[in-house]
Point group: D2
Chain length 372, copies 4
């Protein structure tokens, strides 16, 4: 890892697919009107970052500074700037922001299809900005928030570490649970006990559901168990349906939410849904190939709803943060910041990335200014 030697903020740069991350000093940005400069506290490494490093995501303008979710303190503002709730943003405030910005609100997707996550103008911090544009990613000592970024203060009872423990998985989970119309009394099965799966379990639990999490990795099943969830242990049996029926005295699930990214999960997941239930796909953020489905048995005769879940809107981010403020966040009462996170200093970002890729950790957190 090459670290250049000057006084500006240090940031991690990915120069292209398959390349290692290197650290570089950048000039401290000029903060223009409406912009906010953050002193980064935490950012995260997620599955999308692994895909970006592997070159599996289309349209990434390498070189980039990865890291799409982050939290920090305000270093400087370009004049008066307000949060989404209208509260002034002041030097020293602890804030976070939605990674997606530049949605145009004027195009067909935004105005007619009401699909803002599909707006062609949208940009994402840590994903669709080149590092040549500046400090527009989270794996950096400083992040520059452009004047159209939606910023919010963390509530008093949400620590920065708790926020990043949820990270990008939590609003994704809020969106998936919303798509599944999960409500009071529903039986919900989550396929996959990674960050998105565990967060989906948490969100469904707080929406009034009984939650069971299925996985075949004993490490991940242990994580689900620690958070207080019932589990469907697929490490010893691949008959998820009989495990579910045993646990529910013969019922199947009102809603099954796929958070594995594996094509083979689709048909086995559908088999867990009751007639006239819902099946949500949220784990397929990159192309892992095709699978087989029977239109009569799997869809029509079941009177099934299948729902894809692409991206998040601010409302999901907002609800995720509100949820993090709940005192008892997990069924067991254990704190997610204790149970789910492993912290790495910025200069160990390559290790963090490989630990996530190899599933040695549930959630890797980057402490961007570990010398502070």
């Amino acid at each position: 890892m090459v670290v250049t030697n000057n006084s500006g903020p240090l940031a991690a740069v990915l120069t292209g697919p398959g390349e290692p991350i290197t650290l570089h000093n950048f000039a401290k940005p000029n903060v223009k009107r409406g912009e906010v400069l953050l002193h980064t506290m935490y950012s995260e490494v997620c599955g999308t970052d692994v895909h970006i490093q592997q070159g599996k995501l289309a349209g990434v303008p390498y070189p980039i500074i990865p890291g799409h979710f982050a939290v920090g303190t305000v270093e400087e503002t370009g004049g008066d700037v307000q949060s989404v709730s209208g509260r002034p943003i002041i030097r020293g405030d602890i804030v976070t922001f939605l990674d997606v910005h530049a949605t145009c609100h004027r195009c067909w997707q935004c105005q007619v299809n009401k699909a803002p996550t599909k707006c062609p103008s949208r940009k994402v911090y840590g994903v669709s900005h080149s590092s040549n544009e500046g400090l527009l990613g989270g794996w950096s000592e400083m992040i520059l928030l452009q004047n159209d970024v939606a910023i919010t203060h963390l509530p008093e009872n949400v620590s920065p570490l708790r926020f990043i423990a949820g990270g990008c998985a939590m609003p994704t989970a809020v969106h998936a649970v919303e798509r599944g119309k999960v409500g009071l009394g529903d039986i919900v099965v989550v396929q996959g006990a990674g960050p998105v799966g565990l967060c989906t379990g948490i969100v469904a639990y707080h929406s009034g559901a009984r939650v069971l999490i299925a996985d075949k990795s004993t490490v991940r099943l242990e994580a689900a168990h620690t958070l207080g969830f019932e589990v469907l242990d697929l490490s010893t049996s691949d008959n998820a349906q009989s495990l579910l029926e045993y646990a529910t005295q013969g019922q199947r699930a009102d809603v099954v939410i796929e958070a594995t990214g594996s094509p083979s999960a689709i048909q086995s997941g559908i088999s867990l849904v009751r007639d006239a239930g819902r099946y949500v796909v949220v784990g397929h953020y990159s192309d892992a190939g095709s699978t087989t489905i029977n239109p009569h048995l799997d869809i029509n005769k079941k009177h099934l709803e299948i729902l894809g879940t692409w991206g998040v809107e601010y409302i999901h981010f907002h609800k995720a943060i509100g949820l993090l403020a709940r005192k008892e966040l997990t069924p067991s009462g254990i704190k997610i910041e204790d149970a789910m996170t492993t912290i790495y200093p910025l200069h160990e970002v390559n290790k963090a990335l490989s630990d996530v890729r190899e599933r040695r950790v549930v959630k890797a957190v980057i402490c961007a200014n570990s010398g502070d």
Copy 2:
């Protein structure tokens, strides 16, 4: 075809899969309290009847009197009987009825899952009653409506022939359009120009949509064209997507409704849906095999909804009849009873069945008392 010789009502009986239909005289039924005896005017032959004759439908208690949709005049009532709207049913009235009855309204499917079309107690005229139980199918000079059957008068401006021209396809179409949340201004593509497809087009049109119907059969495309629909002609090109984009100046469909029964229609149909749109499966009433789907491209990245459509409830039947009362039912103004029906006397029911199976007619109507 064997016709027994006595004075009771004549009915067509299917003794088992692959067998020809034969006509038999039955004893005129005793009409018990709450029951209604119909003098049949018209019944129909639909794709389900073909599947029943081919043995492709599970649980059929052969021998049966097929025919699940019918209309007739009231011959006799068992005391005071009322329609769903509370109007007395009197000898001579022209009435029809929902084929599905005996839904229990007390089981888990009925009360908790709110999936009455999945109630294990439900029975269907012409499908799940043995002919040993009596005149409980439409291919018969008389039909006995048990005391739990939902009966309704035809509105003045819905002739019996127009009713049967819609037949079982019309409430099925109402359900499919409801599942697709089709509304004002939607672009809707219907895959398949058979009875269900054409009726789906009609219902979507009256829900405010622009409708395009896709098929590769020139006979069926001609039918769609005659009713006034735009068509996607797949007889000369298999690139439905480019045909659609040409017709809509680059847009794709808000909703695509599958009414073909062919597994290969699924992935090509999904490719016609815009991001964040809906794909309704209504044509897969029997198992025609599996197909391939890509969870990332076809579901998650598209933010797609896929919706199966099983059975109908009374509300769909009710709305279908209300729709038939509209003066201008089709975009071209042509009457469906003129454009879609071929009438057969009861003793030609085997020909009607083979004509439907071979797609030589759009809709075969049985005139049960052609000697009247």
Copy 3:
């Protein structure tokens, strides 16, 4: 109170409006096919019972045995009888039942309007059966469940006392929260801290909402506080809006749910709802007079939804029981059976009724066989 002297089960009878309740022995019923005879454990006294005694409810066929919610053990069954989930009902089982039965499932309200709580055929235990018909009310040592009553076992972790502590208020609350589309992250204000209001708070909390309960009675505010809710104390200030804005840093409520029965609550409640929010009316089960509303300011300019909530369906009853099985039912962790109930033996039912009427207790529970 007159108690007749013979060996059959004892039941409380209300002979007419304004009359005191008297106890009578009834003949032990013959249990016909499909029926279930319950040995009553608990029933309850609610606001509806007060209205019935005051003659404020239309269509009550005095004399009646009041009491519409109850729980008991199975004394006898008429042959094989099953619960809604298909589990056999056996002598000795602890079961409860939905008070509403005889919904016809065939009329316009049931089939077209999809408003089964408005079906003219429906009957309610403890409300619309005369005592001349038999033991069809809860204030009785035994209750006869007719063959169309929806029966369910209590889950293991729901004690009979916890069930009756929720009582009829809990499914009513489930319905109100459903009408209000309460979801994750919503700010919900409940007007009124009686049984329905407190249960509404509990249901909204488990649906992911932040809940504030408003009342002016210090006794009721204390109850809300004990259960762990934030309160809007109207005993010292009548400015609910400024109390709410103080508690929420300037926000108003996404949903306000009225559970007071007072006409003046309407306009003050609406003032607490944010633009484009929802206002649910659930407390007006009898006519307490009219009030004033400004269509421009209160409805149109606010882009408001107002939602009435009449009766409950089985699904609400089902979800209420499922919710009662949650380990931590209240925000404070206190058990509702400890915090909300006062128990009376059957012969003190007049005292129970007056204590409810005078609001001296939150929830009066009748222990029907206190000598057991």
Copy 4:
């Protein structure tokens, strides 16, 4: 009326409440990047303009150029500009635009409450721009569209006169019908046969409803009748309920939509709704006082939904234009541009305004460049 004498475009200016409109020449604007200068064909006079002239609308920055809906040809563009559908906007194109712009898409209303019609930043052409800012209203020979205005071409089969005949009433009607969840087979009663009421009837009709329009003005009833609607004639009877039951054989309405602006319409309108139906308020755009409502009888016992309808979003505007392209727009087949409009040259705008105020015309259209 004073007309200044120079060569720039002429526009009508309202200097303050109660003042007459006067015409003034303005300098031809410099068209900046992303802006579009329109040569106005038609604009309209609606009820809101009457309220603005009477000073009944809060926050109007007099002097203003009124007129919020208009259609024209493109005179000049500031570089490349695109419509919402991505089509280039070229000199000579016939286009229209949504009057509402400058919605921030970043505030609590926009992002959390999802209530963009309540965004405090939003601006409206003809309503919230001072004439000192330039040609930002429709009663003018030219209109300058700022770079954030959503612009669309008229479809080929929508003439400019047909567009303005619908005018602002049509998207308002689309919104009201959407709020009422009007669908196939619904019985819809519209209260009030002014422009919004008639357009609401048209939109509901194309959503599959049976529509009845109630009014007491014989002129307006005649207009409703000419368009082909059933009417409830309140000029001879004030018993709307018995008129409705007569017309529907005893049914009441699934949905009633208020388009009168009269507080007394509320309770009488609610009486026309069936149990568990919907009541939409869309006519109360200004404060006309309060009315009386009974929370038990009018809301709770009816299980009623009441829905306010504030402002429009682009989607409503889009759907309105799409609907105008239907060949048979009205039930009778008569064209709205023939049946509903009266055309005035720009210099007769005061007469147009008084004719609308006195209800002497259904819809007043301003032909801004009548000398062309």
